[in-house]
Amino acid sequence: MLGYYLKLGWLSIRRNPILSGLMVAAIAVGIGACMTIFTVNYVMGSNPIPQKSDQLYYVQVDSWDANGFDENSEPVDQLTYIDAMNLMEAGKAFRQVASHRTGLVLEPTKEDERPFLVDVRSTHTDFFPMFDLPFLYGSGWDDSADKNQDQVVVLSREINERVFGGRDSVGERVTLSGLNFRVVGVIDEWFPVPKFYDLTNGAFNEPEDLFIPMSVSTANELPRNGNTNCWKELDGDGFKAFLAGECVWIQFWAELRNERERDEYLAFMNAYAEQQKELGRFPRPLNNRLRNVTEWLEHREVVEEDAQVMLWLSLMFLAVCLLNTIGLLLAKFMGKSADIGLRRALGATKGSLFVQHLMESAMIGLAGGVLGLGLTWLGLRGIEILFGDFVQNLVTMDWVLVLLAIGLAIVSALLAGLYPTWRACNIAPASQLKTQ
C-alpha cells in the first residue's frame, strides 16, 4: 500500500500545485532558517576528537595574583614557562605536551619565490600521538630532539605542496626566519573543529602550517603569537627574564587514560602547587583544574550564548512556518472531503486514510526539506559574506546535517499534518457522496 499512498500523494500534490507549492515554501523557509543557525551551532559545538576526548585533559595550575580572588575564581587559562617546563620534566602523565603558537618567515629555496609568513606551533614530541595527527610522510620528532634542541620540523600537507610540490620531503631542508630545519614528517589533512588544543588563538582557526620543538623556539628566542598575560613585574629585561617571570602564555595538555590516572595527576598538580608556595610563588589558595576536551570547550563557552538564543529563535520561526502549513493542509484536506467520503464508502478504514494523508504530508515535507537545504546553503553563504574568513570553517554542511535537515522537514510536516489528517479522516462519508 505504501507505493499506492505515494502515488495518491503525488496526484494530490499535482492537483493543487499552488497550495502545495505554498506549503513546500513555508516548510522550506522554516527549515532553511533553522538549519542555517543549527549548522553554525553544530560545528561550533562538535567534538573535535571523539575517540579520546575523555582522556585528554587541559591542565590549569593557578599561579595568578591573590588580589581579587574569591571562591568562584577560575584559575588562569595558560601556564607560565617555568610551570610548563616543570610539569614536562616531571612527566607524570601517560603523555603530556606544552605548546604555544608562533609565526615565522619561510624562505623558499627557489630564487624566484618570495618568502612568506607561516603559522607555527612550538611544541613537544607527544603532540603528534596525543592528538592523533595523521602522517602523510615520516613522523613526528622523538624525545631526544626536544632535549637536544634539534632543528626539525613537521610540515602541513598544504605547505609541503607549496614548497616541495607534494613529494615526500622527509630529509629535505627548510629555512625559517634564518634558521635551518630538517623535515621529519608531513601531516595529512588535519582540521579539528573547534581547534580545541588552543582556544586562546581563535577556536575556529585553522591548525598551524608547521610544528617545531619548543626547546628550539625558546633557545632561539622566537616570537610568540597569542595571548600573554603577566601579573607581576618582570625581574629584569630580556627573554630570559620573561621566561622566568609570572607570565602565562603556554597551553598544557595531559593524556590520562582512566579515572585513577586523572586523580593521581590532579594530586600531583596540587602537590606541585604546594611546593611552589613554599618557594614563594602561587599566592592563591589551591585552585587547580583538570578538564577533558568537552568540559574545556563548555567552560570556554565555545558555543556562545547568543548563538544558542539564535537557535531557539530559529526553532520558533520554524514553528510559525508549521502553523501556516497546518492551515494550508487543513484547507487542502478539507477540499478533498468528497474523495475521502467516497473512499470510506468503498471500504477504506480511518486508519488507512490517516496513513495515506500523512504520507502526503511527508512528501510535502520531503520537498520542503530539499528546498530548505538550498535555502540553508544560501543562508550559510550569506553568513560567510557577512562575517568573512572568521566563520569560513563554521558554514559547511556534512551528511549528518543534510540528513537532519531532510528528517526535520519530514517530521515537521508530519506534525503539521496530524490535525488536518485527523479532521479529514473523521468526515462523515454519507454527507459527501450526495453532494459530489
Binding site: A345, L346, K434
Partner: protein
C-alpha cells in the same frame, strides 16, 4: 439477507429534530431487485445510507446476512462495506485524476488483493460493462453513460452480495439510462441483489419489488403494478 426492524434515525440540531426514519422495517431476500421510491425528504437516501453502513441509526435492529451490524466497530463496518456492498451513485463519484482502471481498483486496494488478482478482476468487470478498451481513459474523457458504467464496474469488482444504487440513471439521458438498467438487470441475473432509490417510474417498473417510503416509514411494499399513482 437484509433485515431492518423498527429502525429510527433522527437528525438533531440545537433547535430542531428531524425524524428521517421512524419504525422503518423491511426484509430483502437474496436475488431481489428492489426499487425504493417516495417523495423528496421521505427518507430514501437515509435508508440507503444506513443500509450501506455509511450512517448509524438511533434505534431498531439491522441485520445483514444474519449479523447485527449496530455492534460493529468503524473498521469492521468499513470491512463489510468493502466485501459485501457495492455502491452506485447518481453523480458517478469517480475520482477525476485516476484513470478508469485505477478508479475500479480503489475498493480492491482496500481489500488487500495482490496485483495480479486485482488486474484480473478489473479487466473482467470492465469487459462486463463494455469498457475493456477504455481502461486508460480519464473520467473526463468519457460520456455520462460510460462514467456510470465505470462506477458499476467499480461496484462489481469486489463481487459484492448486493448493490445499493442511488438514482443510478438520474444524470443520464433515456437511451443511456436504458443501457445502464439493462446492465443492472444482467448483473441481477448473475445473483447480485440490487436495492435502488429512484424517482424514475420506468426504472422502478423493471424492479421485481417496489417499496414506497413516506415520512420515514414504508407505506407500500408491492410489485410494480400496484405502485401508488403519486410515485409515478
Amino acid at each position: 439477507m437484509l433485515s431492518m426492524q423498527n429502525v429510527a434515525k433522527i437528525y438533531r440540531t440545537d433547535t430542531v429534530e428531524t425524524h428521517a426514519l421512524r419504525a422503518f422495517s423491511m426484509d430483502v431476500s437474496e436475488g431481489e431487485v428492489v426499487a425504493v421510491t417516495g417523495p423528496s425528504g421521505s427518507g430514501k437516501t437515509t435508508f440507503l445510507n444506513i443500509a450501506g453502513l455509511l450512517e448509524t441509526f438511533d434505534s431498531g435492529v439491522y441485520e445483514l446476512d444474519g449479523k447485527d451490524v449496530s455492534r460493529l466497530s468503524d473498521a469492521q463496518r468499513s470491512g463489510v462495506r468493502n466485501e459485501k456492498i457495492g455502491f452506485i451513485f447518481q453523480s458517478f463519484n469517480l475520482i477525476p485524476d485516476l484513470n478508469v482502471f485505477d478508479n475500479v481498483d480503489v475498493p480492491l486496494r482496500y481489500r488487500g488483493f495482490k496485483g495480479a488478482e486485482r488486474k484480473r478482476r478489473i479487466e473482467h468487470v470492465l469487459d462486463t460493462v463494455g469498457l475493456g478498451s477504455r481502461s486508460k481513459h480519464l473520467p473526463s474523457q468519457l460520456s455520462g453513460g460510460q462514467q456510470q458504467r465505470v462506477a458499476i464496474a467499480r461496484a462489481l469488482a469486489g463481487e459484492p452480495r448486493f448493490l445499493l444504487a442511488d438514482e443510478p440513471t438520474g444524470n443520464l439521458d433515456s437511451q443511456m439510462a436504458a443501457s445502464v438498467m439493462g446492465l443492472l438487470t444482467e448483473i441481477n441475473r448473475n445473483g447480485t441483489t440490487i436495492i435502488m432509490v429512484t424517482h424514475d417510474p420506468s426504472l422502478a417498473g423493471q424492479a421485481s419489488r417496489n417499496i414506497y417510503i413516506r415520512d420515514g416509514e414504508v407505506s407500500e411494499d408491492s410489485s410494480a403494478e400496484t405502485l401508488p399513482e403519486e410515485a409515478a
